[in-house]
């Protein structure tokens, strides 16, 4: 009996020791890692409805849902050791529209409910790397340079993600190495190297900029205009198509190919920046050896020939190529609060851009008249040009804030034949009910062609962490160019390539 009791005691003691051996370290480890790991993120929904029917590929398309998106963002910040920080930011995106177009694909969940997974950030930072005043960051990230709101001509390292026209701030993350030096309180230096080029993502509507427009009967309405400086060339090219019955043209072979730089060492990008703090003034000087991340037209081939398969009609072959030219950018940005002028805030950015020359070539085979031997014209001259932003902002009352900016050169402008345009950006923000209701009205006016965007939205913070946003994004301007033969005659926000006017309802829960 006693032996059995002893055995039971020993068994319990050994169980306790094993339990302590197993669980104590785990608990300690868990306790340590609770301190070392920060978890955050959000879940969001975004439903949009096209509120017009004239900005699609075909007139009459519209008044339908154009977005039904859900995002789940998970962000981890881990500090595995002193002075080391790791950031991982992932996003699961469900698009909300069925892509199963036949019975064979109907069983596939990813077709019925398509999604993608994104890695927005994944980098490690080492503080006090080599020298106590030097930090190192390596990995996948997005740089944010410049002092102005949204329109930052000195911010050129990451490509833009314009798949969502309502989000001008989104970027395409890229792998890079960043070194930051802090030699003095008033001075910081940054150097970034980006080994591989990535292009900007364009909105779905961008394809309309290169698309052939047809009416409901399939007859040609308008063909894309190539960047030809000589008007006689443009007219001659137009004659090629107009000589044929617009309802007898087959556009089966049209394409726009993107030509990317190689992945060699010489094709990488780098940038330097010095930030100086001097009293009420913050100033940055920067230099970037990079590439323009939006495509520039540089080559095209066009042919119109009798169709071998559809007698009585003509087959049109149109192939264009776009590329991403080199550029060097010398930048300056500043922010300043003027105590001598009602504390008004001033921001300014100026980028002097030295572009690679882009020569556009057009080839039309025999039968193309004056194009038979091809022509070339300078699309982007090598002359330096300026993109800039200058703005003021002011808080009038506890509930009213306004911001006004002049912008020279939109994100996708590179002094090609379209030119560099001038814009006025105005924003008014109002807050009510302990910041539970935010009203925001933004507008952008192209001062050269007078096309515009109006962007009103109301945000209701239902409870802390939960937001409901209702708004609209409305384009104004003519969808047709004032001169169909002039590459630069399309209106910036009027052209169909800019996108659709939408009303939207967004929800977001943050944690």
């Amino acid at each position: 009996m006693r032996k059995r009791v002893d055995h039971e005691v020993r068994r319990r003691i050994s169980q306790t020791i094993v339990a302590l051996w197993v669980f104590l370290p785990v608990q300690t480890w868990a306790g340590e890692w609770t301190e070392k790991v920060k978890f955050s993120g959000f879940a969001s929904g975004d439903v949009r409805f096209d509120i017009e029917d004239y900005r699609g590929l075909t007139p009459g398309d519209g008044y339908t849902f154009s977005m039904n998106r859900n995002d789940l963002d998970l962000r981890l910040e881990i500090a595995p050791a002193d002075r080391v920080n790791v950031v991982i930011d992932t996003r699961l995106r469900y698009f909300g529209f069925n892509k199963a177009d036949d019975l064979v694909t109907l069983p596939a969940r990813d077709r019925v409910d398509p999604f993608d997974v994104r890695l927005d950030e994944a980098f490690v930072g080492v503080r006090g790397f080599v020298w106590k005043n030097m930090d190192l960051k390596v990995g996948r990230m997005a740089q944010q340079w410049g002092a102005a709101d949204m329109f930052n001509p000195t911010d050129n390292l990451n490509a833009r993600d314009f798949t969502d026209p309502l989000d001008y701030t989104a970027k395409v993350p890229n792998q890079m190495i960043e070194i930051d030096l802090y030699p003095a309180d008033w001075l910081s230096l940054t150097a970034v190297w980006v080994p591989v080029f990535k292009p900007s993502q364009l909105p779905a509507s961008a394809a309309l900029g290169f698309a052939v427009e047809r009416d409901r009967n399939g007859c040609l309405l308008r063909a894309p205009v190539p960047p030809l400086r000589d008007r006689d060339d443009a007219e001659a090219l137009s004659d090629l198509f107009s000589a044929t019955d617009p309802c007898a043209l087959n556009f089966a072979n049209t394409s726009v190919r993107t030509v990317y730089p190689d992945n060699g060492l010489g094709d990488s990008q780098a940038a330097l920046r010095a930030k100086v703090k001097a009293g009420d003034l913050d100033l940055s000087l920067s230099y970037c050896y990079g590439r323009f991340t939006f495509p520039i037209a540089y080559d095209a081939y066009a042919d119109v020939a009798p169709s071998a398969t559809r007698p009585g009609t003509m087959d049109v072959t149109y192939a264009a190529e776009v590329m991403y030219p080199r550029m060097q950018v010398a930048g300056l940005d500043m922010s300043y609060s003027a105590p001598w002028l009602f504390d008004i805030g001033f921001v300014g950015e100026i980028a002097l851009i030295f572009p690679e020359e882009v020569v556009f070539g057009l080839r039309v085979p025999a039968g193309g008249g004056r194009f038979a031997k091809g022509i070339s014209t300078v699309n982007v001259p090598s002359d330096p040009f300026i993109k800039a932003t200058a703005g003021v902002d002011y808080t009038f009352t506890r509930w009213l804030y306004m911001n006004a900016m002049y912008v020279r050169g939109f994100f996708d402008e590179f002094n090609d034949l379209y030119g560099i345009h001038n814009y006025v950006v105005l924003t008014a923000e109002m807050k009510f009910f302990e910041d539970e209701l935010h009203l925001r009205l933004s507008g952008i006016l192209n001062a050269d062609d007078m096309s515009s965007v109006v962007y009103p939205q109301a945000t209701w913070v239902v409870v802390p962490s939960v937001e409901l946003v209702l708004g609209a994004f409305v384009f104004g301007g003519d969808t047709s160019p004032s001169d169909p033969l002039d590459y630069a005659a399309r209106e910036k926000f009027g052209q169909k390539a800019a996108g659709r006017s939408v009303a939207f309802l967004k929800t977001k829960v943050t944690w």
Partner: protein
């Protein structure tokens, strides 16, 4: 977007949650009282506080945010929101003229312009300037007020050249403990615009500080309740923590 500006400055919080050391037997002068209060507010190498901010509307509805404050000396302060739709937003106060904010939505550090300082802090009854004001004695001078049996009243008025949204602040301080019991703020038109009431004096490992503060707007009946969840001092926080480098570190 400008609700982010609400994230800087927490000066008042410290200023209103503090105690005075026991008063001298002979009544001290008003400037001495203010300096003693300053010492109890900022008389530490550094401070760390976890707080819950509850905004109470006139209809009784409530919403809460949580944030942490780190402070070094009587000038530098770092504030990070840890809950709500503004979670991740951080504000660095290097001094009242050098305030920076990290905006997680933009992943960017921006300097806060002076005109933003009069905006509400996260929809509460605190203004951004309140929260960015760390030191009383650098900004205010004191003049005597009425004396009650167990409390002194002093009036704090801004020093010449100091840009403050108030014309004066009446402070009620307990004679026995030196605790700031009440503060009444007046705007430049002379209207009473804000009151602070400090309660639930708590010993935080030997450092006494009020656990609860109620800030109210007598014009609207709107109020904000602040609860101190933890409070530590002299932990050896480094100067590096109060730099733009720190604000953007790991972002």
């Amino acid at each position: 977007m400008r609700r982010f500006w609400a994230g800087f400055g927490i000066g008042f919080l410290f200023c209103t949650l503090t105690l005075l050391p026991p008063a001298a037997a002979e009544g001290p002068g008003p400037q001495e009282i203010l300096e003693r209060m300053e010492k109890t507010i900022n008389g530490f190498d550094d401070q760390e506080m976890d707080l819950r901010l509850t905004i109470v509307d006139v209809d009784g509805s409530k919403k809460s945010y949580e944030f942490t404050i780190w402070q070094k000396g009587d000038q530098k302060r770092l504030i990070k929101f840890t809950s709500g739709e503004i979670k991740g937003m951080a504000t660095l106060v290097q001094d009242r003229n050098n305030v920076y904010v990290y905006l997680p939505g933009f992943k960017k550090v921006r300097r806060v312009a002076a005109h933003n300082m009069n905006q509400s802090f996260a929809g509460s009854d605190f203004s951004n300037d309140d929260m960015a004001t760390v030191s009383w004695t650098k900004i205010y001078t004191a003049s005597p007020g009425k004396e009650e049996a167990d409390a002194w009243w002093i009036t704090a008025t801004p020093k010449p050249g100091e840009q403050v949204e108030y014309s004066k602040v009446d402070l009620k301080l307990d004679k026995k403990t030196g605790t700031q019991q009440r503060a009444v703020y007046f705007n430049k038109a002379g209207e009473k615009v804000k009151t602070f009431d400090n309660t639930n004096l708590t010993d935080w490992n030997g450092v006494p500080r009020a656990k609860n503060v109620v800030v109210a707007d007598p014009r609207t009946g709107h109020r904000t309740e602040m609860e101190v969840k933890s409070f530590k001092v002299n932990q050896g926080l480094k100067d590096d923590m109060f730099t733009v480098r720190e604000l953007q570190w790991g972002k």
